[in-house]
Structures are given as structure tokens and as C-alpha cells.
Amino acid sequence: MPFNIYDFTSFTQWIDKSLYDSLSPLWAMIWEMTIIGVAFLLFYAVIGLFLVYAERKVCAFMQCRIGPNRVGPYGIIQTIADLFKLLMKELIPIKNADKFLFNLAPFIVIITTFLAIAAIPFAKGLHAIDFNIGIFYILAVSSMSVIGVLLAGWSSNNKYSLIGAMRSGAQIVSYELSVGLSLITIIVLAGSMQLSTIVEAQADGWFIFKGHIPAIIAFIIYLIAATAETNRGPFDLAEAESELTAGYHTEYSGIKFAFFYLAEFINMFIVASIAATVFWGGWMPFHIGGWEAFNNIMDYIPPFIWFFGKTFFIIFIIMWFKWTFPRLRIDQLLTLEWKYLLPINLFNVLLMAFIVLMGWHF
């Protein structure tokens, strides 16, 4: 079994070849999809558990306390214990709610995150779906989660859930624009929407360095907009409106609530991994053009460690925002997007196009 930690292409091709050799094409395809599906489910579950634990530890670190440290060594099993608790809670059925839509909403939210994870390049060759419109696919698929949010609010038969869901929906749809435009800036620089091409093109330097000023502006805008997209951090008025009215997931209990909660963390992971791929080089090590010895040392570290390291660093920054800043009011939030971020973004795209035409990038 050829297992090269630096290049998974040989491993995946070996699996592919052995399946197609031993079974009929139809069954080979079905088995292949099952293997990938199970692998992603496991990955999803492990990442979800890890991120919830990490959030609690990072939050505690910011607040001068320790965080969970009793359940298991260093509190590692805390999330699993919480999961058991949620599984055993009673699923309270709502009397006059639309039962089908009420039950469907959390699944929509989870499925869209699943679809988006499939397209992320984890390492060289470890890439489930490699469309030639990779970024466009991810943006399209993650936009569908708005439907889940709105359905959850509407089908709860609760005036306040509906208001919360509407606010949340308005927020997500507004910030989609900023996310899309800042990614377009990089597509202009890279010349392609295919994710593996984008990563390969950063072999001699990451885009945030290559595209200097417009890339840095695009990254900052992307970070702000992506935090707002996932309803996190200083933009969580729709959920923390449990100050006043409750959010869209108020009528959900037990495992359905766990789905919403988990989906928020996986969304954060997806957003951070897109940022890592598009701006910070994905699984490419840190190369400085011309310094061969340095580049060889950097190459020694396996690519998937680079990828996860960058992603978790960006996740840490997103968590840092949440625990430091107060919340924005809903009208201030929308003003920020429509009056400030959108014009800057449009100007930035033009600037990047101009720079690419003139060849003033590295």
C-alpha cells in the first residue's frame, strides 16, 4: 500500500484502482462513495467535538480561567459528555407548528455544510471533489443554509423566532455579497476558480504576499464578512437576542439543537479553511523565492499539517473576536455592510484587476 505522507495522490489512486479491478464499475463507484462518505462523517464528528472543546478552552484563556479540566485528562471528554446529554434530552414537539418543515430545517443546515466540506483541498491529492468552478460551488452551496434558518424560524409558530430568523436571514444574505466579492478579487489574481489550481499557483509565494495591497484588504473584509455569515462574534445579535427575544433555534431541543450548534462550528471551520486555501496558500508550505535551504526545511513539514495549522490559526482569530468585542446592533450591522464594506470591496476588485493587467504583482 503506497502511503506517502507528502503526496496522497498515490494512496487515493491505489484505492481507486483496487476497487475498480475487483468489482464491477457500478459497485466500485458505490463503494468508493461510501468510503468517502464515512470518512467525511468521521472527520466531521471529530472536528466538531474538537472545535467545541477548543472554543471553551480559548474562551477560558481569554477570561483568565482554566475551562473544562475535570472530565477526562485536561477535560478532553467534556464535549462527548455534552453530546450524550443532548442525545438524551426530550424532543419537545410544538403543537401548531408545521411538523415536516420543523424537522427538516436542522437537516438542511447540516447537509449544506457537508456539501461544502467535500470541496476543500486538505493536502496534495486529498481532495474529494475538484470542480473547475470550485469556489463558485462552495459559495453556492453554503448560501443554502439561509433556507434552513428561515424555515426554522417560520415553522416554530413563534412570533419572536420569526423576527429572529428574519434578522439572521437579512444579515447572512447581506454579508454573502462581501464574501463573494473578496473571493472574486483573488480569482482575478489567480485566473481560475478551480481550487487545486489556486493552491498550486501559490507554490512560490502565498497570494496574500503576491497580491500585496488589494489581497490584504480582501482578506480583512473576508474575515469580517465571514464572521457575520456564520452568525458569530460581534455579529450574533440574532441569537443573543435572548436578551430580549429568542433566536431562530429557540423551539429546538435535544439533538436538533445540537445540529444547529454543530453546524455553526463547522461553518466556522469551512470559512477558515477557504481563507487558508485562497489567501494563505492552502497546503503549500511557506516558500521564499530563491532561498533553497529554507524552502527544503519548510517542505519537510507535511502539507496537511500546514493546512490544519493555518486553518486553526484563523479559527483562533475568529474566536478571539467573539470574546473581546461587544455586539453590534442590527442596524449598525447592516450599515456596516452596505455603506462601508461593499463600496470598499468593489473598489478593491477594480484595483486588483488593474494590478493584474499592469503586471504589478509578485
Binding site: M62, Q63, C64, R65, P234, D236, L237, A240, S242, E243, L244, T245, W323, T324, F325, P326, R327, L328, R329, I330, D331, Q332
Partner: protein
């Protein structure tokens, strides 16, 4: 005429009433606010009080004066020491007793420490209501140090009952001066951290500047005193205008801001913490030797008449009115609560602003419900 009628009919349909009920994370106590909204804008706020009315004034009519002290702790429990001092000063004024200098110094130091820890808790919960949860932990970390000092000297952390008519219950602990000086040194470094975390933050300033404005005339008319009144330019510090204890010999500034919005009330409280530290520094090294209590009769009977004492509690002017008929119980004891007057201005402050601002305004008024209801 018909257009007016049409508009008022429309208003009635669009207005709806919501309850920020007695149990709520942001009202810091049991208070029911009935808010009438038109869309996002608050048209009127009506507080319903009385959920924690314990009848303290009526109970005091059958308690002796040293026993009353223990009930005053539970009014505005964050300025417990100052409440105790108010009743003691009233009784001492009525009996015309001069307390020893040592008592005056210690009372002033403990009052200023109480003010600091009360403002720290206000800062914690103000940040948390706005969404910056980390503020809660930073403020409480420093408040614990003050509470440790109280525990060592007075025996209790929040409910102290250390004052008694004539002086103090017991002398201070030998470690008192050392610990207070350590605390001052520690806090001088930490208070700028509070500014870095919250005061300069753009989001916080956007949510508090020009929100909840009350003019100086309205503040005087509604009786809004303390830091909330000073944020509107109403100079109402009892320690300056009607000094009691040692406050006429101490040098400090009364922070006044003109705008009257939430941000200026915030700034007043931050400045007051610096001023309190200044007062403590002037007093801590010079505590004179002497008795910790003047000689009092075993049963305290006030001469017939009416007596009124005003002190500056952490939230405003606390007044104690005692009407005595010559026996050991007061005939009538009335406590003028600063929080009730501050709350009466909530309607004026919040009308015309958004519902999300109501939480920020309530936080800046900093009311403690047991003081409203007594």
C-alpha cells in the same frame, strides 16, 4: 384634523406591548418593564416594581437602632457599608455625639472601597449586557481583592454591618493598611486595562454615544443623582455640598460631563474609581490612634424630633429620615432611595430609541432593585 385621526388609528395598530419580565438576565434583579413598541422604536417604558418589597421601613418601627443597621445592608447591597453609615450618622447627629477621629477615617476608607467594588460590578455587567463577556471576569477578579479585605476586617464580604451608632463594632485587623495599599498598587495598573478593553472600542462607543439623553433640568426635576446625574452636568455630590465625616478635609474632584448620554454616565463612573483611589491614598497612612467606638448607653433612645441625614451612596443620594417620639424604636423611618428616583427617569431616557438600546440605558443607570422596593 382627519389626517391626525387617521395617523393615530394607524399608530394603535402598529404598536405592540412586550414584557421584559421579572426574570430576565439583563435587568439585574426582579423588575418588570412593560415596553410599548412601534416597530423597533420604544414609545414608552413602564416599570412595575414591588417584586422584592420586604417592608423594611415598617419593620424598623419595631426594632431598636442597632438592630436597624443590619436591615440597611440589604437595601442596596452593593453599597452596604455606606447604607450602614447613613443610619449611624443620623443617630449620632440626633444624640449629638462626636465620634473619634479614628472612626471617621476608617469609615471613609471603607466607604470608598465600597464605591470602587460597586463600580467594578457595574462595569462587569455593563460589558456583559453589551456582549463583551470577558469584561465580567476581569472586573470580578479585582473585586475579589476588595471583598477579601472586607472579610478580614469586617467579617462579611458583601453584607458587612460593621458600623454601629457611636463607631465601629470592632477595631480593624492589623493587616488592614497593608492589604489596602497592596490593592491600590494592583488596581492602579489594572484600571487602564478596563479602558483599553471597553472604553476605546468603536462598537461600544457607537452603542452608547448619543443614546439615552437626559438634560440637566430634567435630571434635577426627576431627582436623578449620583453618577447618572453627574453625567448630565447636575452637580449633586453630597460629599461636596453637605460634607459628613472626614470628607471636608479630603481633596477630590467631582467628575461632571455635559452631554447626558450613556457614554458620559459610563465615563463618570470610570473617573469616580480614580477619585476614590485618590481619597483612600490620602487617608490610609494617617489613621489616628484612639478608640474605635464612642461611649454609648446600652439602650439608645433618640430625643423627640425629626432628623435627616444625607450620604453619597454608590448610586446616588441616600437619605435617612427618622421621626422619633423619645423611645428606643423610631416612630417613622424613611429611606430615600436613589435608585427609585433614577428609575423614574427611565421613561424619558428610553423613549424614541431602539429596543436594543434599552438594555444599554438600563445598564448605564445601574439600578439595584432591592433598593427600589425596600
Amino acid at each position: 384634523m382627519t389626517e391626525e385621526n387617521k395617523n393615530s388609528g394607524l399608530d394603535k395598530e402598529e404598536e405592540y406591548i412586550i414584557n421584559i419580565g421579572p426574570q430576565h438576565p439583563s435587568t439585574h434583579g426582579v423588575l418588570r418593564l412593560v415596553v410599548s413598541l412601534k416597530g423597533e422604536i420604544v414609545k414608552s417604558v413602564e416599570p412595575h416594581c414591588g417584586y422584592i418589597h420586604r417592608g423594611i421601613e415598617k419593620m424598623c418601627e419595631k426594632l431598636t437602632y442597632p438592630q436597624i443597621i443590619h436591615l440597611t445592608d440589604r437595601l442596596d447591597y452593593l453599597s452596604a457599608h455606606i447604607n450602614n453609615e447613613a443610619v449611624c450618622l443620623c443617630v449620632e447627629k440626633a444624640l449629638e455625639i462626636e465620634v473619634p477621629e479614628r472612626v471617621k477615617y476608617i469609615r471613609a476608607i471603607l466607604s470608598e472601597l465600597t464605591r470602587i467594588q460597586s463600580h467594578e460590578l457595574w462595569w462587569c455587567s455593563f460589558g456583559m449586557d453589551m456582549g463583551a463577556t470577558t469584561c465580567y471576569f476581569y472586573g470580578l477578579r479585582d473585586r475579589e481583592k476588595v471583598l477579601d479585605i472586607f472579610e478580614e476586617t469586617c467579617g462579611g464580604r458583601m453584607i458587612v454591618s460593621y458600623n454601629t451608632p457611636g463607631g465601629l463594632m470592632n477595631d480593624i485587623h492589623p493587616n488592614f493598611q497593608k492589604r489596602v495599599k497592596e490593592f491600590l498598587k494592583h488596581f492602579r495598573k489594572k484600571l487602564p486595562e478596563y479602558d483599553q478593553l471597553l472604553t476605546g472600542n468603536v462598537i461600544m462607543q457607537e452603542r452608547t454615544k448619543n443614546i439615552g439623553i437626559i438634560s440637566r433640568e430634567d435630571a434635577i426635576s426627576y431627582g436623578v443623582t449620583g453618577p447618572s446625574g453627574r453625567g448630565s452636568g447636575f452637580s449633586c455630590d453630597v460629599r461636596k455640598h453637605h460634607p459628613y465625616g472626614i470628607y471636608d478635609k479630603v481633596d477630590f474632584v467631582e467628575p461632571l460631563y455635559k452631554t447626558g448620554d450613556t457614554f458620559s454616565r459610563y465615563k463618570v463612573r470610570m473617573d469616580e474609581m480614580w477619585e476614590s483611589m485618590k481619597i483612600i491614598e490620602q487617608l490610609i497612612d494617617n489613621i489616628p490612634e484612639g478608640d474605635y467606638c464612642a461611649k454609648m448607653k446600652p439602650v439608645i433612645k433618640l430625643p423627640e424630633g425629626e432628623y435627616y441625614q444625607r450620604v453619597e451612596a454608590a448610586r446616588g443620594e441616600l437619605g435617612v429620615y427618622i421621626n422619633s417620639r423619645g423611645d428606643k424604636y423610631p416612630y417613622r423611618l424613611k429611606l430615600r432611595s436613589p435608585n427609585l428616583s433614577n428609575l423614574s427617569a427611565l421613561n424619558v431616557l428610553a423613549s424614541g430609541f431602539k429596543i436594543a438600546d434599552l438594555i444599554a440605558i438600563g445598564g448605564s443607570l445601574d439600578y439595584v432593585i432591592p433598593d427600589i422596593d425596600r
